[in-house]
């Protein structure tokens, strides 16, 4: 796998703030790569460094093997879909999409043809003469996408592109983006704070926190084998268990994570084992129900199938789970 983008101990400081702190990262060619993290975690800074809007304070970035230090954005074969679309308000949709071709002095007919083809690809054929102001959020998002891919970039950067869309549209766009990436075969680097989005779309996910790269791996890696409390908690809101508690049930004094859906309930046990407790909250989620269970002071969440046998608030329950579902992390303190 050739690497499309590689970061070598890259840092970006803004005064005393380390927006990005010594990040090493390889993104393979043709990969759908997600950068996940809470706001202020450095993921957008990382994207802006690759696009060229920011220069790294330290370290080196390579795009397809070429060092891009000092190369301005307009000389990088990388295009960006911006969070709030950044469509030019004084141009219609076609002119927006044609913008990069116009700069390359492509002749008018070819330009119009390619712009229309890009618009067709995002299912907006025939919208060329409209103004961005006349479009809905979802349509603007598609125009931004068409504008970024018309240039056939080697790498497409997407900065929370679905953040402003409503749930239904977001799910639809997630599938379309994935399909589009397959069709085009170009590298997508996708920034998001939505772990569900990252897991469902990406080939690999990088999790950021406080400017540091915390973990990189396939969605399955990240979800089932988080390497730290932060990842366990942020990705899929896992139960993070303290070392003292883990010692009582697994015999090792380490932090551990336990997925809520890996827990099943054993009812009617009255004994005071470490795994019995009281239901303290219950939220109905449709197909599943989320329970809060108090195990002698340790609060755990379990997601169980909805149905008549879901315990009510105050019920005594005992929980069970497969040993391999309990993932011990490296952190001991």
């Amino acid at each position: 796998m050739t690497s499309a983008v590689s970061l070598n101990t890259v840092s970006r400081h803004f005064g005393a703030v380390r927006a990005l702190d010594e990040v090493d990262l390889e993104v393979g060619e043709g990969e759908f790569f997600a950068m996940l993290g809470p706001s202020g975690s450095g993921k957008t800074t990382c994207l802006r460094l690759i696009a060229g809007f920011e220069q790294p304070t330290l370290g080196q970035i390579r795009i397809f093997g070429e060092a891009v230090e000092g190369v301005p954005p307009y000389r990088r074969n990388v295009n960006t879909v911006f969070q709030d679309y950044a469509l030019f308000p004084h141009m219609n949709v076609r002119e927006n999409v044609e913008f990069s071709l116009m700069l390359k002095k492509v002749d008018r007919a070819t330009r119009a043809r390619e712009a229309e083809a890009a618009l067709e690809l995002v299912k907006l054929g025939g919208y060329g003469e409209r103004r961005p102001g006349q479009l809905s959020g979802g349509q603007r998002q598609r125009v931004a996408l068409a504008r970024a891919i018309v240039n056939k970039p080697k790498v497409l950067l997407l900065d929370e592109p679905l953040g402003a869309l409503d749930l239904k549209l977001r799910e639809q766009m997630q599938e379309e983006l994935k399909a589009l990436q397959k069709t085009l075969g170009i590298t997508f680097i996708f920034v998001t704070h939505d772990q569900g989005e990252a897991l469902s779309m990406a080939d690999r996910v990088a999790v950021f926190n406080f400017g540091k790269l915390v973990q990189v791996g396939t969605p399955e890696d990240i979800y089932t084998r988080p390497n730290s409390r932060f990842v366990a908690d942020f990705v899929g809101s896992s139960n993070v268990l303290a070392p003292e508690f883990v010692e009582t049930i697994a015999g090792e004094r380490r932090w551990a994570s336990l997925r809520p859906e890996a827990i099943h309930l054993v009812r009617g046990t009255g004994g005071h084992t470490p795994l019995s407790g009281t239901v303290v909250s219950r939220s109905y989620l449709g197909a599943t129900t989320r329970l809060g269970i108090d195990l002698n002071g340790t609060l755990l969440h379990a997601v169980v199938p909805s149905g008549a046998d879901v315990p009510a608030d105050g019920d005594r329950v005992t929980i069970g789970f497969a040993r391999e579902a309990l993932h011990l992390m490296e952190e001991a303190e």
Partner: protein, 319 residues
């Protein structure tokens, strides 16, 4: 039971407090009434005092003056407008329009970089300093500024002295020896009039451009660069079109203010009339109100044409 009902309903819907409360309720139910009351004074002022007097002025321009008696003949005629086309009057109009055009173009050229700096780079106290610098001249009396400029531009003035110190007197003399724009000294040449107009109206050009540039989101500039535009291309394809409404707004100020001004050309420049001076002379000593009115209509028509053209060229598309 009924007492209980009364108190409980009072708790949910507290009684309105006096007639002010009743008024608030009414405004809440009929927001349009509130808006109407808000604009009513302005509407009356604009409608009666302003548009009314403008209309009266227009009406005057369709009357004529009896050349022998000097009395106004209150019959509808286009004779006064025909008089505008006489060489000596056309001369005044052309001179004023060319001056206004030159002042507008020059102030746009000078104002743009200043406005751009202020909008894009100035922050905090530098921004405050910018506003102070732009607004400060507006706090001083217009007449004082104009007379100050007369001193600056005079033959014994500081500008001449500076040129002398720099051994550039030949340059100034060369400029002043040019036909039309030259003259005996800067203070009695068109160049002098132009410089003072430029100085006096500059804030009106800078502020709207600065506001327009400030409204351009930075991510549009990022997007442009991302799509392959060099900074120069970004300027011409993105920043300039989006700043254009500001430039047009500023040029409306500088252009119309120059068209109508009668004090600056009187104090600084040649003895040739500008429209404002012509209006002043005709309505005053000459007592030719119809011709003065017709002269006044000229800037209105020119501004109308200018706005229409600006709109056709798409200057307001980005609004």
């Amino acid at each position: 039971m009924s007492a209980l009902a009364a108190t409980s309903s009072g708790a949910i819907l507290p009684n309105r407090r006096g007639w002010l409360g009743a008024l608030s309720d009414r405004f809440w139910r009929q927001p349009k009434l509130f808006v109407f009351l808000l604009v009513l004074p302005a509407l009356l002022w604009l409608g009666i005092v302003y548009v009314g007097s403008l209309f009266a002025l227009l009406l005057q321009s369709f009357f004529s003056i009896d050349e022998f008696s000097g009395l106004i003949n209150y019959e509808f005629t286009l004779k006064t407008y025909a008089e505008l086309l006489k060489p000596q009057n056309l001369d005044v109009i052309l001179r004023t329009v060319i001056m206004a055009g030159a002042v507008t173009v020059a102030s746009a050229l000078i104002a743009f970089p200043i406005a751009y700096m202020a909008a894009r780079y100035a922050r905090g106290k530098w921004k405050a300093l910018f506003y102070l610098g732009i607004m400060l001249p507006l706090w001083a009396s217009y007449l004082v500024k104009v007379y100050a400029w007369k001193l600056i531009l005079a033959k014994e003035g500081i500008l001449n002295w500076v040129f002398e110190q720099l051994h550039l007197t030949w340059l100034l003399d060369g400029w002043l020896s040019l036909p039309v724009i030259g003259g005996n000294s800067l203070s009695i040449s068109y160049t002098g009039t132009f410089l003072v107009f430029l100085y006096v109206w500059m804030p009106y050009m800078i502020l709207p451009i600065q506001a327009a540039i400030e409204r351009v989101p930075t991510n549009l500039l990022d997007a442009s660069s991302d799509l392959g535009a060099t900074p120069m291309q970004t300027f011409w394809k993105v920043i300039f079109p989006l700043a254009l409404p500001g430039i047009v707004a500023g040029s409306i100020f500088t252009f119309s203010l120059t068209l109508g001004d009668y004090i600056i050309p009187q104090i600084i420049g040649t003895s040739a009339f500008f429209i404002g001076q012509a209006v002043y002379a005709h309505q005053g000593t000459a007592g030719n109100i119809p011709l003065a009115a017709a002269f006044t209509v000229v800037p209105i028509v020119i501004m109308g044409l200018y706005l229409w053209m600006a709109k056709r060229m798409g200057a307001f598309d980005a609004l």
